[in-house]
Amino acid sequence: MSIVSSCQFLFFNLDFFVQYALLAMNMDRKNQILNSENDKNIALSDEQQTIQNITNQDYKYGFVTDIEMEEFPLGLNENIVRMISAKKNEPEFMTEWRLKAYRHWLKMKEPKWPKLHYPEVNFDDLYYYAAPKNENAPKSLDEVDPELIRTFDKLGVPLEERELLAGVAVDAIIDSVSVATTFKNKLNELGIIFCPMSEAIQDHPDLIKKYLGTVVPYTDNFYATLNSAVFSDGSFVYIPPGIRCPMELSSYFRINAAKTGQFERTLIIADKGSYVSYLEGCTAPMRDENQLHAAIVELIAMEDAEIKYSTVQNWYAGNKEGVGGIYNFVTKRGLCAGNHSKISWTQVETGSAVTWKYPSCILKGDYSVGEFYSVALTNNFQQADTGTKMIHQGRNTRSLIISKGISAGKSNNAYRGLVKVSSKAENARNYSQCDSLLIGDQCGAHTYPYMEIENPSAQVEHEATTSKVSEDQIFYLNQRGISTEDAVGMIVSGYAREVFQQLPMEFAVEAQALMSLSLEGSVG
């Protein structure tokens, strides 16, 4: 689906529309904003419709690119860890760090507390490194394997179009090695570093030494520790003091080799008074085997800095009978290190057979703010156990949690969240809203809100609702000429609107399209 190119068209359309609207109507500023908002919605539903027209119910990105892969032997041991590190020409400190993580991992057990059921993962039966074979990093698009370009074409992110896509710099990752980085020069001028993690380890060892593993230590949890030992690649971002990153930074992750666990690692540092918005989107090819995915994202926001991190996750969810699909165990955590810093997570989770993910904020700086906006949609036999942790440590810290779970088919969807106010966090405030929407009568929605409040000045609010898509609503839309499938898509999108509004335009469009795709066949 050429989401990217149609986005451009939409932008054009939108701009034109907004101008028209401004000319045609003499409205106050608030109205102007509302109105473009309005058109955004119109545009969204249009896009959704187009996408529905051109797709069918099967997982659209189900294909395997025929690129020669280079693989290490099956299984994991110290040797493999060393090989990974050597393959990437890593400095000694990095190899040692990986080994420390590996040794620690050997002592750990897979957590059993989530509300997830899946066959035991045999960690000895996985490949821990895979990279396209001609791995002399290409300097330009001409050097990129044509087969790879075709993969991006199928994904709707044609490389040759990216430079045209003003506003989005793409650090594209297929499997483990980053093969293309664009807009680098533009960013360089501002002193912004946006590069593959493997490159950052080579070129910016000081920053890596200083920050890697400071938010998610290598001892953190089973999957994070595994990732620390074997992480393949990921993105590294550094925004210097006072710089507002002029474009959305974007990265497309992709699993593309059978039995290859993918272990991305992303680190974003926003120095004093800077701002960055980062987009992460993923699709994966169809596989009959379960694939393990254990990523880490670490965010660090210094004084007065703001990081906005948005994800649209659409890993292969397994077929309608629950066979196959990605196991997605992700550790995402942000540290609001400085006063008045802010970290905002937005996630739209529609894929994966199993999702285990709790993007969190440690609110260390005084007056720091943490936000979590989430839509998690499960259908068929998907299972999601997702939520957030807001750890209030500084004074006058605030956090907001908006979670929208949508369950259809025979799926299970759990929100698990922790709001912790430590004893020194005077005047901490939290508001949580956890809504569940059920489609059909064979799915489950569960909410596990945990609160640990150690300071009496804290104000913590939690609201939760559970609702069903009502027949009245569907009939009302039917009676206006809208099919049941579209009606459910609209109702669900409306329900999740608060979260979609947080997404940048092109992501919002993609997210709504994915929602509708994911819900196809769930009604009627």
Binding site: F17, I482, G494, Y495
Partner: protein, 252 residues
Amino acid sequence: MLSIKNLHVSIEGKPILRGLNLEVKPGEIHAIMGPNGSGKSTLAHVLSGREGYQIDSGSAIYKNLNLLEMAPEIRAREGIFLAFQYPIEIPGVNNTSFLKKALNEIRKHRGEEELDAIDFLSLIKKQMKLVEMNEDLLRRPVNQGFSGGEKKRNEILQMAVLNPELAILDETDSGLDIDALRIVASGVNKLRTESNAYVVITHYQRLLDHIIPDFVHVLSKGQIIKSGTKELALELEERGYDWLLEKSESPS
């Protein structure tokens, strides 16, 4: 346009419509009146394709189509519009995008080109004047937080935009104050043409002061027991339904 013959409909085995006959031609306004529980709303729902009703016998032919076999969205695209007695709230779904989607579904069905945002916006702005609706309501989610009167006006706005051939107004006057009633009725009157028809379901004569019907039918126990012109409505207003009901029951 619409020909209903000997229609029998039940809900969970309980008969609601018992041999209803009705002929509607283009350009006509038919008022359906009758006491509570006589089957007025059932008629509206059955014509628009709501689930949960058992068609026991009889037929409803609309523009040579077997209406009762069509999915509700197809009926809508073929030009049937139901103004709901209780319009449904759809949280988070923008009123304008909803209506644009609806119109474009109908246009696609007719083989017409879909309207883009700009053309649609000019259309909706024009039609809003008919119902004297505040623009603010376009930006809000469908019916959410609307007052009773705003919801009804929103129904008429939708009707004005979708431009149906057969509009069924299910107690659109209920819950409206006099001003809102006048606005709704004048909207309907302005939309009236030679080629479209209205079935106006109401309890009260007062709506019919504003929307002048060509025919008035009295529905009782699932049958039309008396048909007449607008004078019948006035008579009902004066005398109530009892005299008719007694009369209709006496032969049996």
